[in-house]
């Protein structure tokens, strides 16, 4: 197969370096522009032509590397010699591409010391484009081919290529931006030098101040965030536990309906709850108005601030905790509880001394999951926070506010990153010890013990009102879409939908999307639809590499993949604009930056569901395919992939839905051309235009439910015959 040979990738690299325009073209590339060898405009020329005709000497090493790799790419001669050419040529090419990109930017030399060493450079370059990207990819694969020829990765070119591409993409789109943020902490500010600027930023009263304890001023945002995340996590875990116990252990008619709760956080944009709370408890909310008319009291603005954000987050994240804890409660082997009962323990004693202790690691895990979610939440604090600042909103204001203080944003992001990483490491430690969960392959017999009466009463007393309240909040939130002005004019109307999604026919019969929301909605769907398959593909590839291959650096790859999960969205957003608004990768304002953000934010979920499914797939299936002379790629395509359909669905659904509902990272990355639905809605909310915002949310939710159905239909089910039809559990 030619498309898989080294020569193919050499041609790719050669095309990138010799023919195609190296830099990104502002107006896009037309067909004529593709032939960039011989272009008069240096910015539109290929690398070799820029070097030949425009005196851009820094492209000579790139060209040299590509040419040097040619003898290795041809399928001639001994493997060892080919490997040498590939490694030397591809390696030189890669290093040269990265070095020239980092060294020379829009203002000549990028670093002062280079200017001092080589004298000023009166030339400049913009970010890399088609040619540069292809050359980079080509050189990368040439290097991995060389490594495989050397006998690494069992001599398997596909595996070495996959590992190379995974490492490179994580470096490019996660490690580099995050490290860049940390580097920005040291940017000099005014006349302060790096260290002094760092000092002022780091020990800012606005971050660490404890004024709220001693006086009636606001505390620092760090303490606010910590307080909010801790209290949200505790409350949501407790509520989630009550729900999980009722659903799994009590006889209760509404159990199935309760399980539906777990789907809510996946398909609702994160600030819907915040909106619902405003409509109930806000100044013109239902409760406030009723209290005012009945008792004549002004309840005021109590919902804005810590109270409101806390409530909204508990509503939002209880289902998440619930989802985690269902698995935990169901994972406890009934035979342990039965053993306890045969040892003459009462129901209560069994619950206290067996069931509850067995759940402790699971509870801790749920707590940490919610903690991180609360930390990263941007939607609710921005809607309800008022003057109660948390890290995510402060970062946002530091970037978009009047000050445009990237240094401050970087410091805040770094603190947030450390909090997130801390929780992540703690979680790994907790879950790593989870030897308690006793799921055996044998299928436990026995019935789970009934809940002791006091526990059952408490669980019901807490969970039922909360479930009702959740439904009320959601329905209020949705009802807001159908009245003219909430709190003042209750006339039912569809005008909000009309404003957002009106379609008119022009005189010549063309359809015109005149509603204000069409642009952002179509963009969102389009980008989410592009990002979802990429996420699923990379995620499953990574999962396959991690579970099925042994190579040096495997644990590093696994850890760095999982680490991307711990980086809060706001940090990613800031990191991306800081990193990608200057060459060599100048993609701010394009669709690429949004897609990259979706892909690398949601990648860990794809990896996780892939790993879970893969570990239930007998390893000898792929080995059988390999010994049956299938190439690694064929084995993957014909054996592994068809058996992984449930995981594919999970990854596709999750990444699509998350791409549609995410706010935190995206809010930094949108541009006039590429506006996202959630950002559009947030802006409406900030302007007080709740009706349209809610109408939009409703449409999004309906759309996502439809998409989930569609994806399930398209990917289809596995055909395994009747006896092997055991379901493969793919956690969301």
């Amino acid at each position: 197969m030619f498309a898989g040979s080294s020569l193919f990738f050499w041609l790719l690299a050669a095309l990138g370096a010799l023919v195609l325009p190296w830099h990104m073209q502002q107006e896009g590339v037309g067909l004529a522009g593709l032939m960039a060898f011989g272009q008069a405009d240096p910015e539109a020329a290929s690398a070799i032509w820029q070097a030949l005709a425009h005196g851009r000497f820094w492209f000579w090493p790139v060209v040299a590397g590509v040419l040097l790799a040619l003898p290795g790419a041809l399928p001639l001669g001994p493997a060892a010699r080919r490997a040498q050419f590939l490694l030397a040529g591809g390696g030189l090419g890669l290093v040269a591409i990265v070095a020239q990109g980092l060294a020379i930017g829009i203002g000549g030399w990028s670093f002062a010391w280079m200017e001092a060493a080589f004298g000023p450079l009166d030339d400049r370059q913009f970010g890399i484009g088609l040619g540069g990207s292809l050359a980079f990819l080509g050189c990368l694969v040439l290097v991995t081919d060389g490594l495989a020829l050397r006998g690494l990765f069992k001599g398997d070119r596909f595996v070495s290529g996959a590992v190379g591409v995974l490492f490179a993409s994580i470096l490019l789109f996660t490690a580099w931006p995050v490290l860049n943020v940390l580097g920005q902490i040291f940017t000099p500010q005014g006349e302060l030098d790096a260290m002094a600027a760092l000092g002022t930023r780091l020990f800012d009263q606005k971050i660490w101040g404890l004024g709220c304890v001693t006086a009636s001023v606001n505390c620092g945002v760090f303490w606010n965030t910590l307080l909010l995340a801790t209290s949200t996590a505790s409350a949501a875990t407790l509520l989630g536990l009550c729900f999980a116990l009722i659903v799994t252990r009590a006889r209760f008619p509404g159990r199935r309906a309760m399980r539906l709760l777990t789907v809510l956080p996946i398909i609702t944009p994160p600030f819907v709850i915040g909106l619902g709370l405003i409509l109930i408890f806000g100044r013109s909310g239902v409760v406030n108005q009723m209290v005012e008319t009945v008792f004549g009291w002004e309840l005021g603005r109590w919902i804005y601030g810590y109270n409101g954000v806390f409530l909204a987050q508990v509503f939002s994240f209880t289902p998440t905790a619930f989802l985690v804890l269902i698995g935990v409660v169901e994972g406890i082997s009934p035979s342990m509880e039965e053993a306890s009962q045969t040892l003459r323990a009462s129901e209560m004693r069994t619950f206290q001394s067996v069931t509850l202790p067995l759940m402790v690691p699971g509870l801790a895990n749920a707590w940490l999951v919610v903690f991180v979610e609360s930390l990263a939440d941007f939607g609710n604090p921005i809607v309800l926070g008022g003057s109660f600042g948390v890290l995510s909103t402060e970062i946002f204001f530091a970037v978009v506010g009047a000050q445009q203080d990237f240094g401050r944003a970087a410091v805040l992001a770094a603190i947030m990153l450390l909090l997130g990483l801390g929780a992540f490491l703690l979680q790994r430690a907790v879950v790593g010890r989870r030897s308690y969960v006793s799921v055996t392959g044998k299928g436990d017999v026995g019935l789970p013990t009934k809940l002791p009466r006091p526990v059952r009463l408490v669980a019901f007393a807490i969970a039922i009102p909360w479930a009702i309240l959740t439904v009320v909040v959601y329905s209020m939130a949705l009802a807001g879409a159908f009245v003219r002005v909430w709190g003042r004019d209750w006339t039912p109307t569809l005008s909000h939908f009309a404003r957002a999604f009106a379609i008119e026919w022009a005189a010549d019969g063309r359809m015109m999307f005149t509603g204000g929301a069409w642009n952002s909605l179509l963009t969102t769907i389009q980008l989410a639809a592009i990002a979802a398959p990429i996420t699923a593909a990379i995620g499953l590839l990574a999962a396959w590499v991690l579970t099925r291959q042994r190579f040096t650096g495997r644990t590093t790859l696994e850890f760095s993949l999982m680490l991307t999960f711990a980086v809060p969205g706001t940090v990613i957003g800031v990191a991306y604009i800081l990193t990608y608004n200057v060459p060599p990768l100048e993609i701010t304002g394009t669709a690429i930056i949004l897609i990259a953000c979706f892909v690398f934010r949601n990648l860990p979920v794809g990896v996780r569901s892939g790993v879970a499914a893969m570990s239930q797939l007998d390893k000898s299936l792929d080995e059988a395919a390999i010994t049956l002379r299938a190439s690694t790629f064929r084995a993957l395509r014909t054996v592994v992939l068809p058996l992984l359909k449930p995981a594919i669905v999970t990854a596709l659904v999750y990444s699509f839905v998350r791409a549609m509902t995410t706010v935190s990272a995206v809010i930094f990355l949108v541009s006039a051309e590429y506006e996202m639905a959630t950002v559009f809605i947030i802006n409406r909310v900030i302007n007080g235009d709740y009706g349209l915002a809610i109408a939009y949310c409703a449409v999004l939710i309906v759309l996502m439910v439809a998409t989930i159905g569609l994806i399930n239909l398209l990917v289809g089910r596995r055909k395994l015959g009747r006896r092997a039809a055991a379901p493969v559990g793919a956690p969301a």
């Binding site: 390999i626 002379r629 015959g721």
Partner: protein
Amino acid sequence: MTTLPKGRSATVRLSGIGKRYGEVRAVKPVDLVIEGGTLVTLLGPSGCGKTTLLRMIAGLEQASEGRLYIGERDVTLLPAGARNVSMVFQSYALFPHMSVLDNVAYGLISSGLRKREAHARAETTLETVGLKGFGTRLPSEMSGGQQQRVAVARALVLEPEVLLFDEPLSNLDTRLRRTMREEIRALQQRLGLTVVYVTHDQSEALAVSDKIVVMRNAEIAQAGTPAELYTQPASIFVATFMGEANHVRAEVEQVEEGVARVALGQLRVELPARGFSPGAVDAVIRPEAILAGPPGEGLPATVARATYMGAHREYLFATELGELFATAPSRLPPLVAGQEVGLALDPGGVVLVRP
């Protein structure tokens, strides 16, 4: 039955092949020649490295040292698909989402055959293993023995130079196991295949092999024909692993022309000296070589336990050599626990061994 073309079987030569994971040695460097057209068994307890060795021949693991030749070709660095070997997995590893015919044709299509031709040849091979007409079924719709045959057919259809079996019978019940091992042996002899066969079951190994390689602690303990291993074990381990054996201490009194006179308690037996010189030695006694007679003759013993096993009886005798385990055909008059007897030994079932 139709037969497949013979004569592609190749000799496998392992020259210093070894595998280490970091500090751990999974297989110490091994030299071994597997003659073309023979069935060689790798036998050993779990964790002895036999499966790793097999997987290195298959190309599923890469050897950390040494060279591997199949025929005249050095395949050490070749990936599994390029080695012209195929393998039958312990779990069969039939692709559950493909029909039986697609499973068997998979390797042919991988090798670039047209689908129609591949299916025709797969059909022929299914016939060879006695599964004509089962092609449209899914693997899950077949019994364990049939699945096993599909796995064999799938490996066989590629006409590999070497066919590898990784504990192929461990998922079958006892009766089926016996039938299948005979089928595999018959197929191997009919087609003249080179087969490497991994098992931990010594009776299976004895039944199917031209040559058995006993492995222990990541290295070869002894290699030879089944009879050699049973009658002339090189060590106590091999002796006790190849069937039941009583390990006793003995005394070589004198050696003359390769024959040693050995004292076993009061008994005196003449045995092949196997290079031992006079002095204390280790000896193993097969249970069927212990013959009970009336008290007063031979080695005095008391029956400590007697168990009826159907075709034979099992006895545990208390003697001055220690407890001895023995078997006797059921048609002989039974002994009862507590009875005094005198034991004689059949020299054919007694061997001097190194520890």
